[in-house]
Structure formats: structure tokens, C-alpha cells
């Protein structure tokens, strides 16, 4: 996916003034939040399960190479071919190699965020192979030539009106804004592709080491289609997604779907192991798993390791007041919201995404709902520390931090400066008591007044009071 995180501030301006997007985001508003809150009521020991889920993820990360080795052994025994991709670019190369070796002409895809990292669709299409997204949201975006703006609801930024226009244009059908009719239209358009494709590509929500399985969690049934109907199935997922056992998977699943869409479970959960053999009536004859590093191993042992616990539920973005206002595209890469503010700089480089860790009030709403207890505000702060230490922040920001630290550590200087600053600010507030413009703080005064102080500091007033006595 094309990276635009380095123009975050510009992206934000555009998104905030995009009336249609703002309208769509308002509608999106609290729905996931409400659904999650409601479904969590049926889990009376949520905190215990969160602690257990975080521990399961930590255990996987602590033994990552051992778990991956076990996965590999088990998967191979069942006829699955395991590939390793060091970079996003390698993912595309491997997929195209598999496709070419098998004379693949058409690929059907279910949702895979990892494949968005590498821009797999474009690469495959450039190699002369047809690639069709089959998740409804992703399908809409493929028609619109847009990237996803949410990891589980990729077309959340689109209105039914926009979808209707796209379908009418691409399917040559009369325009309808009836949502059930649009869904049926998509089903009818895509069904022939499922049946005629020679390769299916899916993500992998998890790998299960003890059984060599790939697990995917879906609602629409397209995931089952792409992993059942074509003769080749390729699953693409990050190396960190491995779990130990089916029991580990059951625990994590209990939180994943509830955190994501507010469902107790999704309609389909498929755990796939190996290839179709004599004992099977259907399924792919070839099974491949591509395990992607692409920056992940770099986080191991770092202060950001906990980010690798992520199970991609999207709750952090659903609950993030920044995301709720700017949408996913402003973040400029695959993963938006708080987890994106941590992963994007980690995977593509801090310099390329300098403003993302700053794009949070550190309000903590994300951390409270994260099913695997990733301390997201803390991780954003770590990245802020890295950018400060590396001198990546603008000079005036660094200077003011240094000046404030120095001033605050010299109480006499602090007392002297604040005395005059508050006098000046009082003057600037005038009769209304509101400052409309403050040089250097115009980020504030552009949209808000600054209530003026009363003219003397607490410390001066307190001193005077004690004096009187």
C-alpha cells in the first residue's frame, strides 16, 4: 500500500474538511463501541480472560522460533508448503512464483491486511493474473481503487450512496441504494469467480503450532470459499501470529470477535490443516503458508515488543477519539488508529511516520479495551522518546521542551517568568477574558480561545496572603 504517513498533518486537514467522510464517520461513531460493550456483559470474568490472552501471546513471542519450527514441521507433515518472506516485496514474489508454476489465471482473495502491506493485488495484476477481492468491503474498495480505512471494516468510510454508484458503474445494473439488494448483487457477481478461480488467497488470523493449522475468522463465507473451492490455497500471515495449541486459540477467539464486531463468535471460524487427501471430498490440492517478517522480528526484545501481541481486532481504533474524527486513511498506511500509530513507524521507519505517535491525547481508551492488554499509550510514548532522542522533532518543539525543563527546575526563574507571562496573558485577554490568538500556540488558538489568567500566579497570591497574616 502506498505510504502517506509522512504527510499526516496534511491528510488530517483534508479528512476533517471532507464533509462526506465526516458524515460517514459520524454514523460509524459508537456502533462498534456499543456492540462490544453489550457483548462483553456475557463474559463475567473478562479481566481474567484478558490476562490469560495476553499471557498466551507473550508465551508465543517468548518462544517464537520454537513455535514456528513446530508449526512448520506439523504443517509440512500434512502437505502444506511453508514459505518465509523477509520483506513485503518477497510476499509478492512468492505468490507470483506459485501462481506462475501452476498456470494460475485467476485469484480470489479474502481479506488479508498483510497483503495490503506489500500491495499484493497490484503486483499480481501487473504479472498478468486476475485478482479479485471477495470480502464485500474489500470488493467495494477494489472497484473504487482505494485502500482500506479500517482493519476489520475496510469500507467503513463509504456510504451506501457511494457503493450504489460504484456497483451501477461496474456491474452495469440500475442504481439501487437498497443494502440487501447490493449485498445480493455482490454475491451474484462473485459466486462465478469462486467457482472458476484457480487460486485462493487468505490471511491467517492465527497459526496453531501443535497442529500445523491456519485459522481464519470470517462472517461472509468468502473466507471459506477461497480456502475450499480453488485447487490452490495460499495463506499469508505475520510470523508473530502463531499460537501454541487449539486451547490457546479458543481463549483468544473468545476475545477477538467480541472485541472486534461485538459478536460472541463470528459466523465462520475455519481451522485448516494440510491439503485435500483421499479422506476428503473437497478442498484445495495445494496448500501454502507464507510467513512474513517485514519488520516484525525487529520489535522482539525492544521496548515495543508488546505491540506484537496484537490480534487485529480493531477495538483500539473503534474507541479512539482521534480515529473517530479523522478516519483510517489519514494515518497513511495499512494499520490506522493507536495500533497503527505504533506499528507503522515500527515497520516503515519512524522518519516516515513521525507524527503518528503524536496523534493521540494518550487518553487510554484504547488500552482499556485492548483484549491482549497492549499498553498502547506507553508504546506511543516510547516512540515519542525515540523521535526526541534522535532529533527528529522540529527544532522549536525540542527547544521549548528544553526551556521548560530548565525553567521548571529553577523555581526562582520559574516564579519570575510566570509572574510576567500571566500579566501579559491577562492583558491579551482584554475585556472578554479570552485570548483569540497566541503566537507560538496558534495550533490552539486556530480553533479555540484561550481563557486568560487572572493576572497573578497562585504562588504570588499565596505569598501575599501569608504576609498579610
Amino acid at each position: 500500500m502506498e505510504l502517506t504517513s509522512f504527510t499526516f498533518k496534511k491528510n488530517v486537514k483534508k479528512k476533517l474538511s471532507d464533509a462526506r467522510l465526516q458524515n460517514n464517520m459520524r454514523r460509524f461513531g459508537g456502533r462498534f463501541v456499543e456492540a462490544r460493550a453489550k457483548v462483553m456483559q456475557e463474559v463475567d470474568n473478562l479481566e481474567d480472560i484478558r490476562v490469560a490472552a495476553a499471557a498466551i501471546r507473550d508465551r508465543s513471542l517468548a518462544h517464537l522460533d520454537t513455535y514456528l519450527t513446530l508449526f512448520e514441521e506439523q504443517a509440512r507433515q500434512r502437505g502444506t508448503i511453508v514459505h518465509f518472506a523477509e520483506t513485503a516485496h518477497d510476499v509478492n514474489r512468492i505468490v507470483i512464483e506459485i501462481a506462475k508454476a501452476n498456470q494460475v489465471k485467476k485469484i480470489v482473495k479474502s481479506k488479508s491486511m498483510v497483503s495490503e502491506e506489500s500491495g499484493l493485488n497490484d503486483a499480481v495484476i501487473n504479472a498478468g493474473i486476475e485478482a479479485i477481492e471477495t470480502d464485500l468491503g474489500e470488493y467495494i474498495l477494489q472497484l473504487a481503487k482505494e485502500p482500506p480505512s479500517h482493519i476489520i471494516a475496510p469500507a467503513i468510510h463509504k456510504s451506501v450512496e457511494e457503493v450504489a454508484e460504484l456497483f451501477a458503474e461496474h456491474h452495469h445494473t440500475p442504481k439501487s441504494t437498497d443494502i440487501p439488494a447490493l449485498c445480493r448483487e455482490a454475491r451474484e457477481q462473485l459466486r462465478p469467480h469462486f467457482l472458476s478461480a484457480d487460486m485462493g488467497i487468505s490471511g491467517g488470523n492465527f497459526l496453531i503450532a501443535e497442529t500445523g493449522s491456519v485459522a481464519i475468522v470470517t462472517n461472509e463465507g468468502n473466507g471459506r470459499m477461497v480456502t475450499t473451492m480453488p485447487k490452490i490455497h495460499v495463506a499469508i500471515t505475520g510470523i508473530e501470529k502463531v499460537l501454541g495449541t487449539v486451547n490457546d486459540f479458543s481463549t483468544i477467539l473468545r476475545l477477538l470477535t467480541r472485541s472486534a464486531t461485538g459478536q460472541s463468535i463470528t459466523n465462520y471460524v475455519s481451522v485448516m490443516t494440510g491439503v485435500k487427501d483421499a479422506a476428503n471430498a473437497d478442498g484445495p490440492e495445494q496448500s501454502h503458508v507464507i510467513l512474513v517478517d517485514s519488520g516484525r522480528s525487529r520489535l522482539l526484545g525492544s521496548r515495543l515488543q508488546q505491540a506484537l501481541r496484537c490480534i487485529r481486532c480493531g477495538a483500539c481504533m473503534n474507541h479512539c477519539p482521534v480515529y473517530q474524527n479523522i478516519g483510517g486513511h489519514a494515518y497513511g498506511w495499512v494499520y490506522p488508529g493507536p495500533i497503527g500509530a505504533v506499528l507503522t513507524p515500527s515497520y516503515v521507519g519512524l522518519k516516515e511516520a513521525l507524527d503518528l505517535p503524536q496523534a493521540s491525547t494518550l487518553c487510554g481508551a484504547c488500552q482499556v479495551v485492548c483484549p491482549v492488554k497492549i499498553p498502547l499509550p506507553e508504546l506511543m510514548r516510547v516512540l515519542r522518546e525515540d523521535s526526541f532522542a534522535d532529533g527528529l522533532r522540529p527544532w522549536h518543539e525540542r527547544l521549548s521542551v528544553h526551556l521548560w525543563r530548565f525553567t521548571a527546575n529553577h523555581p526562582k526563574l520559574y516564579g519570575f517568568l510566570t509572574r510576567y507571562v500571566v500579566k501579559l496573558l491577562k492583558l491579551m485577554g482584554g475585556k472578554s477574558g479570552q485570548i483569540h490568538w497566541l503566537p507560538g500556540l496558534d495550533g490552539w488558538t486556530e480553533g479555540r480561545d484561550m481563557p486568560a489568567p487572572t493576572g497573578s500566579t497562585f504562588r504570588d497570591q499565596y505569598k501575599a496572603q501569608r504576609h498579610e497574616r
Partner: protein, 215 residues
């Protein structure tokens, strides 16, 4: 060095482990897995898993009915299809061929589903009460297309095989089979999407209707 070698070297370096693992390290890491620890389940308990399963089905738009006897199934299927004005032709799992479908006026084809099939009838390995989920392992006798391609999926469920949690379902499967099949599909209601304006629409790429007949 292969991509795999490079990745594994980076992992071990990141974790602060020696370049090559000692056998003891692997043994220790895998020991936990052999113990297969179970995570916490929701502690609210239901007395009767069958009752719980039926209640939860309703929330997922799965319909249910209970019949007294396995022999009553074909008639129940026929009346369900009648009620919904659906075709009386259907594809069924091989293991269900012995039932007297003809007597109920139904015409069945045995095997995998084709695109034209509008109704698919399957069994279920077991079901999970917590989430009203059917566990459907793939196999030559249990083709997974039958629960996927048709618009209507009717599943026959033995009430003695409704377990409380997914962990119990795995245990049950692995007590009866040595390894996992090519695919285990956990099915919880008809396919759905909410990708347009977060409006939940029942019926996406899979079935529009899931009906469970409990016997």
C-alpha cells in the same frame, strides 16, 4: 542464508537467545504445549447445554426445532422446506443417505454440493453451547461444500453432542480422531455482512438460512 535462516536469526537475537537452540530449550517450550493448558471460560454457567444452545441460536438468526426421534427428521425437513416455500430437492451428506427421504417426498442427491444446489443437509460433529456453534470437520463423508454453497443449510444435531465450550469440542474431536481433518469449520448462524454502513445483512456468500434440527 535463506530467508528462513535470516528471520530465525533475527528472532533469536531479538529474544536474546544463543544462535542455535539447545534441545533442552525446545523441550521446555513444548512441555507447556503438551500440557494443553485451558484458559478461563466465562464463569456464568447454564444448567442445560441443550437449552443454552437453543436460546443462543435465536440470537444468531439460526432457527431450531427438536424432534423426538431420528426417524422423524425427513418429515421435519419436508415441513421446514414447505413452510419457507423452498425446493424439495437437496444435497445431503453421504452419512445421511439411510434416512427415508423419499417417504417425506424429498429428492436427495448424495455428496458434495454444486452451485445449483439450493438446499444442503448435513449432520454436525458436535455443537458448542456457549456460542451456539456447530463444529463441522471436513471429510469424504462430511463434504464441507454442503454447508457452504446452498442458500439453505439444514443441520442435524444429536442432542447428546452439545458441549459447553470450544475447548470441550476440541477435546471431543481429538478423543475420537488422532489428527485434525483438512478443515474444521465452526458455523454460527447464516452468513452475514455489515460492510455497507454497518448494517447487518443476513446472507452474504454462504447460506441465507441455517436451520438446526435437534434429535
Amino acid at each position: 542464508m535463506s530467508a528462513r535462516d535470516n528471520i530465525f536469526a533475527r528472532i533469536r537475537r531479538g529474544l536474546g537467545l544463543p544462535t542455535h537452540p539447545e534441545p533442552a530449550e525446545r523441550e521446555q517450550a513444548l512441555k507447556v504445549l503438551q500440557e494443553k493448558p485451558r484458559g478461563p471460560r466465562p464463569s456464568q454457567v447454564w444448567q442445560d447445554p441443550v437449552q443454552r444452545f437453543i436460546e443462543r441460536c435465536a440470537q444468531l438468526s439460526t432457527t431450531t426445532e427438536t424432534v423426538s426421534d431420528i426417524l422423524a427428521i425427513p418429515m421435519a425437513v419436508a415441513s421446514y422446506l414447505n413452510q419457507h416455500h423452498l425446493t424439495r430437492e437437496m444435497v445431503i451428506w453421504p452419512g445421511l443417505a439411510h434416512l427415508n427421504w423419499q417417504q417425506a417426498g424429498l429428492s436427495v442427491r448424495v455428496g458434495s454440493a454444486k452451485n445449483e444446489d439450493l438446499v444442503g443437509v448435513t449432520g454436525a460433529f458436535c455443537a458448542i453451547a456457549e456460542t451456539a456453534t456447530l463444529m463441522m470437520p471436513s471429510g469424504s463423508e462430511t463434504p464441507s461444500t454442503v454447508s457452504l454453497l446452498p442458500e439453505t443449510h439444514i443441520a442435524l444435531l444429536d442432542k447428546s453432542r452439545i458441549v459447553n465450550y470450544m475447548e470441550d469440542a476440541w477435546d471431543l474431536y481429538l478423543s475420537e480422531h488422532k489428527t485434525l481433518p483438512r478443515a474444521v469449520n465452526f458455523i454460527s448462524g447464516p452468513s452475514r455482512t455489515a460492510d455497507i454502513e454497518q448494517t447487518i445483512i443476513i446472507g452474504a456468500h454462504g447460506p441465507y438460512r441455517v436451520h438446526v434440527i435437534i434429535y
